[in-house]
């Protein structure tokens, strides 16, 4: 294996050559305010204050919600990039609707309205700017757009037409300044009049959705009640218990989705459990770890150098990786993606095929519903937890022992096709299962090529462009070297892969 193989997009570092970041495909939003100079001329302070408020309260959160990133602020607008054209257009529609809604009460000459253009293209994304023809086309589309509307290029249209339920009006091929080929332009019908026209149809869909919600809700409710009484009858015994019987306080109710079918329906069902009944939420079982300091890293691989001392404050970490059962509860609450669940995904297997963004979303949802500071562990916390006060290559010693972890070459039990149920191997000295092998686990940190300049206080290292995040522990498809607590790898932040999972941490 090469000592060090990496992509060069993990942020600034001393050795980094001056060239920019890699080219990549991105959906680009260009937006600006109609008649900005006129508005400023009329009421400079008022306009500025309003625009700032719109940005803070409406626009920036919407972009973040759709996994986009503002790469450039212009005086009267911004440019944002998205991995997914669907998310980019969805985000644009939400921005237009919320801004139009907010402006509606103001007199016409004071209204702030945006024009938005969306294009898909190969661009060069730098930390604070973005370059390429793709950006220029987005900017031209923006300038063509009617106030309050979203114009998209043919490239975007082709990618979203079957995915986003809204109207598209073809405006034909337009010549774009300095671009050789004409660009096909579509208008997304999301302005107030189009919404009004679409409302009747939407009403019908909503009625259908309500019927569905009621049906599914009744089913889930009955199932939940049944399970609950069952659980009570069994004196709080849990349904999960992969190896060690967990304490009843964190009993996973296995309540949520009765069948994968209901889990996949996008029905806004099952509100977060009311406060006062936290034990009924499927909170992952946590293990409280003492604080301490340890030597992080190793000399086995260039990416794990230099070995450095890190202090860790006491914190709690998941005893197992987050399971399919736990993920389903989040799906049922309409907060996590159903798409990552396979038809036959068994409840006690770790959830897989999650991107870092998916994992982060789960942790945020869990924190919100439980009102406890759940989050992803930092890379330092993960390694500290995996070592369990040992300093050897593996937590059990200096050499590989078979049957200690789930990896390709780690011995039995082993299934090449899928991860094993959580907790099939002996726990490490901290009582944690699957800290290495089974599923590779996302941590909070952005990927950096090595530990030069890494924090020493146990916090997550978030500097850099964060295009990729750190994965720890390796999966069942990796070789034994990935099972080492110090081993680290990286993967694109927003991309799903079938061997990637995660566990949660909680600050105390």
């Amino acid at each position: 294996m090469p000592g060090e193989v990496r992509r060069f997009n993990e942020g600034k570092s001393e050795n980094r050559p001056p060239e920019g970041l890699a080219r990549r495909l991105a959906a680009i939003i260009a937006a600006d305010i109609v008649g900005y100079s006129r508005l400023m001329g009329m009421d400079e302070e008022g306009t500025h204050a309003r625009v700032t408020r719109y940005r803070r309260e409406l626009i920036d959160p919407t972009i973040a919600e759709h996994h986009g990133r503002v790469v450039k602020n212009t005086g009267d607008g911004f440019i944002a990039v998205f991995d997914s054209p669907v998310e980019a257009v969805r985000c644009s529609i939400v921005i237009q609707q919320s801004v139009t809604g907010r402006s509606a009460s103001l007199p016409a000459q004071q209204q702030i309205l945006y024009r938005i253009g969306v294009n898909l293209g190969d661009v060069i994304v730098e930390p604070d700017d973005v370059y390429g023809d793709g950006v220029n086309v987005a900017a031209r589309l923006e300038r063509m757009a009617e106030p309050g509307s979203v114009y998209i290029s043919g490239g975007v249209y082709e990618q979203i037409k079957n995915k986003l339920v809204c109207g598209y009006k073809a405006l034909g091929d337009k010549r774009v300044k300095n671009i050789t080929d004409p660009v096909t332009v579509y208008r997304v019908l999301a302005d107030p009049s189009a919404v009004k026209a679409a409302r009747q149809v939407r009403g019908l869909v909503a009625a259908l959705a309500i019927v569905l919600v009621l049906a599914v809700g009744t089913g889930i409710g009955a199932f939940w009640l049944f399970n609950r009484s069952e659980m009570e009858r069994q004196g709080g015994e849990t349904a999960r218990a992969p190896v060690a019987p967990p304490p009843s306080a964190s009993a996973p109710p296995s309540a949520a989705p009765a069948a994968p079918g209901t889990a996949a329906a996008p029905t806004p069902v099952v509100a977060p459990a009311p406060a006062g009944a936290p034990s009924l939420l499927s909170e992952p079982e946590m293990v409280m770890l003492p604080g301490g300091s340890f030597a992080m890293g190793s000399n086995e691989d260039a990416t794990e150098k230099p070995i450095h001392r890190v202090s860790i404050r006491p914190f709690a970490i998941g005893k197992y990786p987050v399971t399919v059962r736990e993920w389903k509860v989040c799906v049922a609450a309409n907060a996590c993606a159903a798409a990552v669940l396979g038809a036959g995904a068994e409840d006690d297997r770790p959830i897989t095929n999650v991107s870092w963004a998916d994992a982060d979303q789960y942790a945020k949802w869990l924190a919100l519903t439980t009102r406890k500071p759940y989050r992803l562990p930092s890379e330092a916390e993960w390694e500290y937890a995996a070592r369990g006060n040992t300093e050897s290559k593996f937590w059990w010693g200096a050499t590989l022992s078979l049957g200690k972890a789930n990896c390709k070459g780690c011995g039995d039990p082993y299934d090449p096709a899928q991860p094993l149920k959580v907790g099939q191997f002996a726990p490490n000295p901290f009582g944690l299962y699957d800290m290495g092998g089974n599923v590779a686990q996302w941590v909070e940190d952005c990927y950096h090529r090595d530990f030069a300049g890494a924090p020493s206080d146990g916090s997550a290292w978030l500097a850099g462009d964060c295009f990729t995040h750190v994965l720890k522990g390796g999966s069942w498809r990796n070789d034994p070297s990935y099972v080492r607590p110090a081993s680290r790898d990286q993967y694109d932040t927003a991309v799903r892969y079938p061997t990637h999972g995660f566990r949660v941490a909680r600050s105390e």
Binding site: V5, R7, N9, R23, L208, V340, Y497, P498
Partner: protein, 142 residues
């Protein structure tokens, strides 16, 4: 009807056991190649590796558009790929699921092989496999 469509959509990108992953077909004239470095080149590390693809398009992992996939760069890989399984993810199999068309690669001095493989929405090679010629480069000592 609504539900069924959603179920189908979710099945396409789901975490089914790996052996159930279905192969996606590629046009027979699809051509994947490494634009740079050239076969036999002597380079200083890190270097740019640029990916070329003809008669197919580049899209994001997870998107199942016809005739489109995303790049994977195999470094010093000797074992043949399993055509029915997702392309492995490790330090020798780099994934470019965000639609990247080039990468900065950092390798220790010595001879290395590079090869591109196109993967579908679920990171599984196409049928027929869309794969570049394997090239050998020499990374010069610092």
């Amino acid at each position: 009807m609504l539900t069924r469509r959603l179920l189908l959509a979710s099945a396409a990108a789901s975490a089914l056991p790996l052996r159930f992953a279905l192969a996606t077909s590629a046009p027979s004239d699809a051509y994947l190649y490494i634009i740079s470095p050239n076969n036999g080149a002597k380079v200083k590390s890190p270097f740019w590796c640029r990916f070329g693809l003809r008669n197919m398009g580049v899209t994001h992992a997870g998107d199942a558009y016809p005739n489109a996939g995303h790049h994977h760069l195999l470094i010093d890989v000797k074992e043949p790929l399993d055509p029915n399984e997702p392309i492995p993810q490790d330090k020798n199999h780099l994934h470019f699921g965000a639609g990247q068309t080039e990468a900065r690669v950092d390798l220790p001095p010595g001879k290395h092989t590079l090869q591109l493989v196109l993967g579908d929405a679920n990171h599984v090679p196409f049928t027929p496999m869309v794969m570049s010629k394997k090239i050998t480069i020499t990374v010069l000592p610092h």
